[in-house]
């Protein structure tokens, strides 16, 4: 029995690692910011989830009593990770970051009322 748990835990652990790796890989090699955004916010979150399950399994096997405390970390990540992603995307739109040419969709992501007023000269242009 114990070895099944351990094997499962090992498997989940590696799976988690792979997801983390892929998430970061995506962030490293995808072509534009918006695409890079996808990797970490999801793959990474799931990767952590897998690893936490692995950890739970392991400690269950190790201590003998089930303990699902680590669920909480995933819970918090599920709450917070989308916010980071959302705000980052919003920031990217605000800064009008380049996106690769194949991207389809509306030519202007931000509507006029979301862009703000006319640009003004920066007051401390003098030193940066």
């Amino acid at each position: 029995m114990a070895w099944i748990v351990e094997a499962l835990a090992s498997l989940l652990l590696i799976a988690g690692g792979v997801f983390l790796f892929i998430g970061s890989l995506g962030m490293a090699h995808l072509k534009d910011f918006y695409m890079r955004l996808h990797g970490p916010t999801k793959a990474t979150t799931l990767g952590i989830g897998f690893m936490l399950v692995a950890s739970m399994l392991y400690f269950w096997g190790y201590e003998g009593s089930p303990d699902i405390q680590e669920i909480l970390i995933t819970l918090f990540l599920f709450i917070t990770a989308p916010v980071s992603a959302h705000l980052l995307a919003k920031t990217g739109l605000h800064l009008q970051l380049r996106r690769i040419d194949v991207t389809e969709g509306k030519p202007v992501e931000l509507r006029p009322e979301e862009v703000g007023e006319r640009p003004v000269p920066h007051p401390d242009k003098g030193h940066g």
Partner: protein, 165 residues
Amino acid sequence: MIKPRSWLPTPVLSILLLLVWLLLVRSVAFGQIVLGSALAVAIPLATYRFWDAEPRIGRPLKLLRFALRVLKDIVIANFEVAYLISNPWRKLRPHFIEYPLMLEERFTITLLASTISLTPGTVSANLRMDGKSLLIHALDVDDEEALIEQIRKRYEQPLKEIYEC
């Protein structure tokens, strides 16, 4: 079903808090239940004022089902995205999609946006200032309309049923 009372403004939240407490302390000892319950009552009372609209949960069971569905989607879709990202020969077709919202309340919109972000392939990039639509960036999409329809059916509808009816 626990009903909201003056000393218990948000029963669901309180239950959630109690659960989280028990998870945190890794114990279901009576003392911890007492302590956790006290906190579960006290904290909503203290933070009540920070909730501008009280989210009423019409159908808690449906919420659970919704959560499980999202979880399943996350896991399955993640494999797809992992494949997309790690396959260097695959040409991605990113999209910006304007998603018209049915939901009206901020909290439920947030839930929807989070769900969209968590499920792979899509990130909710911007909630329009008027709150009527959501700008979504999708990693690889053939059919824009299909995606909108899928989100509508799988996530927005249930959310609307759970909270806004």
